[in-house]
């Protein structure tokens, strides 16, 4: 698949008169460009979205001009305080700051935007060009990254167990995906729907990384947060989607507690009912589905999961209801008797969940 290679540009670079001419006078062969230009001209003020212009030549030597969605990123620096948002250090289109965390956050948000926009046609978190806000250097020795409902926040880590949380693009994708879930399925952050909320973030966090590095299902690590641990920790990552429970085994931290099958489901009051633990079960169901289909996981398995969270799904869906919804999504897009439906069913069966279509 050819990817648009133009850099991001500010909206104002394409002057309105040019957009008007494209919109009104473009010949029929430029219909995509004309439609995009019309869309760009009719956006509500104040303009929330950005666009980028892609120029290419088609097989008949015709010029193809396309307006593509583009991210609008804003990175803040909390300067080691636990106060948000902090001071702004980089806006969309500005040069790298030289601060590793700020630039990793900026680039990671761009990679995440690219997956959702280029693969699933989603324009940012809300599908309406919402600005992507991130804050780095939050707190002192702060061992976490989180989504606060409006922005992604990254700590530097303590330097002994955790390094900085912007170091893995899967973490940045995970946090942004929490925003996408908030605007779509809005899964309740408790118990099974909470573990699904976590799993959806891991799925798209992993896919951001795979899409960025063009990895197929065999090349992908299926790890979440690779490189977040310091070298002193015996562990590769925080979670493994292919083999939950094997990401780390360390003297100080203990062993990765994630289950990968319903028979090992953890009942606990901590962690909102184990949302970061039992997410291993749907994580592995996605992995099994993707491996059964082969190729690039974002193309079919990822599409089915994206269709599932953007369709009618109850915010209180448990694993069985979510599994049934993925089967419905696969059947609707690929057909009842498709290999995709079989792969999805096999994926859930592999973690101990029998699934039949609800519709």
């Amino acid at each position: 698949m050819a990817r648009p290679s133009v850099g991001y540009m500010r909206r104002g670079i394409v002057p309105p008169y040019l957009l008007s001419r494209i919109a009104e006078q473009a010949p029929p062969t430029f219909s995509v460009a004309a439609e995009a230009a019309r869309r760009a001209l009719t956006l509500d003020a104040p303009l929330r979205t950005r666009a980028r212009l892609s120029l290419s030549v088609d097989e008949t030597d015709g010029l193809v001009a396309e307006m593509l969605d583009a991210p609008d990123r804003r990175i803040h620096d909390a300067q080691n305080r636990e106060e948000l948002p902090g001071v702004i250090v980089r806006r969309e289109g500005e040069e790298p700051t030289g601060d590793v965390a700020a630039d990793e956050a900026y680039d990671g948000l761009g990679s995440t935007f690219a997956l959702f926009s280029e693969v699933y046609g989603r324009n940012s978190i809300d599908d309406a060009g919402l600005r992507l806000d991130g804050t780095v250097h939050y707190g002192r020795n702060y061992d976490n990254a989180f989504w606060d409902g409006g922005r992604m926040v990254f700590g530097d880590g303590d330097g002994e167990i955790f390094a900085r949380f912007t170091g893995s693009v899967s973490v940045i994708g995970h946090e942004l995906a929490h925003g996408v879930t908030q605007y779509t399925a809005n899964l309740v952050y408790q118990g099974q729907p909470g573990a699904l909320n976590e799993s959806v973030s891991d799925v798209f966090g992993a896919l951001v990384e795979q899409y960025l590095f063009s990895q197929d299902v065999e090349q992908a690590t299926w790890l979440i947060g690779e490189g977040l641990f310091t070298p002193q920790v015996e562990g590769r990552a925080l979670r493994s989607m292919s083999a939950p429970g094997t990401a780390y085994d360390d003297d100080v931290l203990g062993r990765d507690p994630q289950p990968g099958h319903m028979r090992d489901y953890i009942d606990t009051v901590d962690d909102n009912g184990g949302v970061h633990l039992n997410s291993g079960i749907p994580n592995r169901a996605f992995y099994l589905t993707a491996v059964a289909l082969g190729g690039f996981a974002w193309e079919r398995a990822g599409q089915i999961w994206y269709d599932t969270i953007t369709a009618e799904l109850s915010p209180t869906a448990d694993f069985a209801a979510f599994a049934a919804a993925t089967l419905d999504a696969a059947a609707q897009r690929y057909g009842e008797d498709s290999e995709e439906v079989a792969a999805v069913r096999g994926g859930w069966n592999g973690v101990g969940i029998d699934v039949e279509r609800q519709q």
Partner: protein, 148 residues
């Protein structure tokens, strides 16, 4: 009034368990207060915390109404705490042998659950003091990182 044996038993035991977070690792800190002068120093802070309002059953479902559909305004319009994801969750446990009706071996027990986004005022002061003055309880290789 106090026998020798009860002097050995801690008057207050405070345990902070921090779960959740992106990593899903649970960390614990524990303080045992044996000395009455020490207990007198801890008690005002312990009593200032709204234990009843933060009892595990009283904590509202953290999902909240955050459903900013089409037309939702600015990011962050959802109330903090209702749509925070990957935040830490603090469980604070107190065993108090000096409370009314309690005695050594049968302490009054209280538990609170406080999400990071609500950790302010006396809760924050109490948690930070337990972390500063208490012992970290290692998860270790023998135990898993979570209580089953």
């Amino acid at each position: 009034m106090s026998s020798g044996s009860s002097d050995d038993a801690p008057r207050l035991v405070l345990v902070v368990a921090r779960s959740g977070g992106f990593a899903g690792l649970t960390r614990r800190w524990r303080v045992e207060v044996r000395d009455e002068a020490d207990a007198a120093r801890w008690r005002p802070l312990v009593d200032a915390c709204p234990w009843e309002a933060s009892a595990p059953s009283a904590v509202p479902d953290s999902s909240g109404p955050a459903s900013p559909g089409p037309g939702a305004s600015a990011p962050g319009a959802s109330a903090p705490g209702t749509s925070a994801r990957d935040g830490f969750v603090y469980r604070i446990s107190l065993a108090d042998t000096t409370a009314p009706g309690a005695r050594p071996g049968a302490p009054q027990e209280r538990t609170a659950t406080v999400p990071e986004s609500s950790l302010d005022g006396p809760w924050r002061a109490l948690v930070e003091r337990v972390q500063d003055e208490g012992q970290a309880v290692p998860a270790g290789r023998r135990g898993s990182a979570v209580e089953r």
